[in-house]
């Protein structure tokens, strides 16, 4: 068992998991916030576009989205996100497209978490903001969103945990993150079953603190009403 752990770059594979999680989380947060703003905006077209995005993406399997990114956008449409002449072009492209796919997918869930946060803000406060002459954008920035984010911390934590685990899907488009390596080890080595538990433990070690952190953060930052 120990020799297996020494033979394979297990830490490196989890490093890739963290790398994918980190960058797709940032992407998902940005896209998700924009979507949430669209969904609460007074402009009907934006509201409909926002809900169309959420309903479509949320109901599409992540595997399909990543395959679309890799086969469809990268190989068929040849949209490169990395310099095609570089020696690591294939690997880099796969990683970057995986981040895009993960971000696009989880943005839908970030949007819904934020919307539940917006719902924790009493409508009276939005009216008070408007009646002192704040524009829609200003009331959103100054009054609604700061409280919405605090109200959404716990559900955002759940999205981050799901995202961490969902990075495993990236292995199907050739990104060598933790689960990909696990599959490789189990296939190559005899008695590889304990390997499964090592990797499972790895994910628990990654996600458990996230859950604890977000729960305590949400308690600390909760807006007193």
């Amino acid at each position: 068992m120990l020799d297996i752990i020494e033979k394979y770059p297990i830490l490196g594979a989890f490093g890739m998991t963290i790398y994918l999680t980190f960058f797709s989380a940032i992407g998902a947060l940005v896209i998700g916030t924009i979507l949430a703003v669209m969904r609460v905006s007074p402009v009907g077209v934006l509201r409909r576009l926002g809900s169309f995005y959420v309903n479509t993406v949320r109901n599409t399997p992540l595997t399909l989205i990543l395959v679309l990114c890799s086969l469809g956008l990268l190989y068929i449409l040849e949209i490169n996100l990395a310099d095609p002449k570089s020696p690591t072009s294939i690997v880099d492209n796969n990683i970057r497209w995986a981040i895009v796919g993960l971000a696009v997918y989880h943005a839908a869930f970030v949007c819904e978490a934020l919307r539940s946060g917006v719902n924790t803000v009493p409508t009276g406060q939005a009216e008070a903001a408007r009646s002192i002459g704040l524009t829609f954008g200003q009331s959103l920035r100054e009054v609604i969103l700061p409280q919405a984010f605090r109200g959404a911390i716990a559900p955002l934590g759940s999205v981050l945990i799901a995202l961490t685990k969902n990075t495993t899907v990236a292995s199907i488009i050739g990104v060598s993150e933790a689960s990909g390596l696990m599959k490789e080890i189990i296939e190559n080595e005899t008695g590889g079953l304990p390997v499964f538990f090592v990797f499972a433990l790895g994910f628990v070690i990654l996600t458990l603190p996230v859950g604890v952190f977000f729960t305590s953060l949400s308690r600390r930052l909760a807006v007193k009403r």
């Binding site: 009276g124 008070a128 408007r130 002192i132 002459g133 100054e142």
Partner: protein, 263 residues
């Protein structure tokens, strides 16, 4: 506040002269679904005038109040504030709202901001005052409504009466031309009602134009120039407080007064 130019005469000083109009409501109608909540409302409120709106629950008082700063849209008729018809939306509407203060039944302070920041938000973002200027203004106004010691606290740490006085300070910080109050004391414990009414009476004495929906008859008698009685979406009666309370003309008003004055 700083709106009064030296060459203008404060019209409230001479009650025999007709006041210049501040809020003019003409032929306003509104439905909620099948419900006709505002039926052909006509009402002019003069500069410096204090108008109390009375009427049974559901008669459209809140809707009328909210229509004056376009928190509710109307279907027909016009509403003008200081000679300007209400803009439809966007920046011009935001600018008009900055000139119309609104105090709600449920205070609606910004829960994530300190008391001082609640008051300075509008002056900084809308009036483009510097932070120092806005803080000085806020401290002056909080002093005036008697909550200066609470400036660093958050709304949830204050009593209802204190929160409502902060809400008044927040509106005053914009230097409004007119203030709307929608049942400002209805959500308060009885012992806190007077601290809020006292602030409002003070404002009225200083010549603020005020439209106040309230069931506080004491306030109406003490501060109102006119009482407007509404029922079923209509203005049924307009009179001085004295006339209205001692000699109501309509049966609806007699009935209403009978109900609220007996307890």
């Amino acid at each position: 506040m700083d709106e009064l130019k030296p060459d203008q005469v404060d019209p409230s000083e001479d009650s025999s002269r007709p006041r210049e109009p501040m809020v003019v409501i003409e032929g306003v109608n509104k439905h909620f679904g099948d419900l006709h909540v505002l039926r052909d409302i006509n009402l002019t409120v003069g500069k410096g005038e204090v108008v109390v709106i009375l009427g049974p629950s559901g008669s459209g008082k809140s809707t009328l109040c909210r229509a004056i700063n376009r928190l509710e849209t109307v279907e027909s008729g016009t509403i003008a504030v200081d000679g300007n018809p209400l803009p439809e939306e966007g920046k011009p509407l935001a600018q008009l709202r900055a000139d119309v203060g609104m105090v709600f039944q449920s205070f609606n302070l910004f829960a994530h901001k300190t008391i001082r920041d609640n008051v300075t938000l509008g002056p900084i973002k809308v009036r483009k005052k510097s932070k120092d200027e806005a803080n000085a203004l806020a401290d002056r106004l909080l002093e005036r409504v008697g909550v200066a010691e609470q400036a660093e606290k958050f709304p949830a740490q204050l009593s209802g009466g204190q929160q409502q006085r902060v809400a008044i300070a927040r509106s005053l910080a914009m230097g409004p031309k007119v203030m709307l109050f929608d049942e400002p004391t209805s959500a308060l414990d009885p012992e806190m009602v007077n601290e809020v009414l006292d602030v409002m009476v003070g404002l009225a004495k200083e010549g603020m134009t005020m439209i106040v929906v309230t069931h506080e008859m004491g306030f109406a008698r003490k501060a109102a120039d006119r009482v407007v009685f509404m029922a079923d979406g209509q203005v049924v009666e307009v009179a001085t407080p004295d006339e209205f309370f001692t000699n109501p003309r309509s049966d609806r008003a007699k009935d209403f007064l009978g109900k609220i004055l007996t307890h």
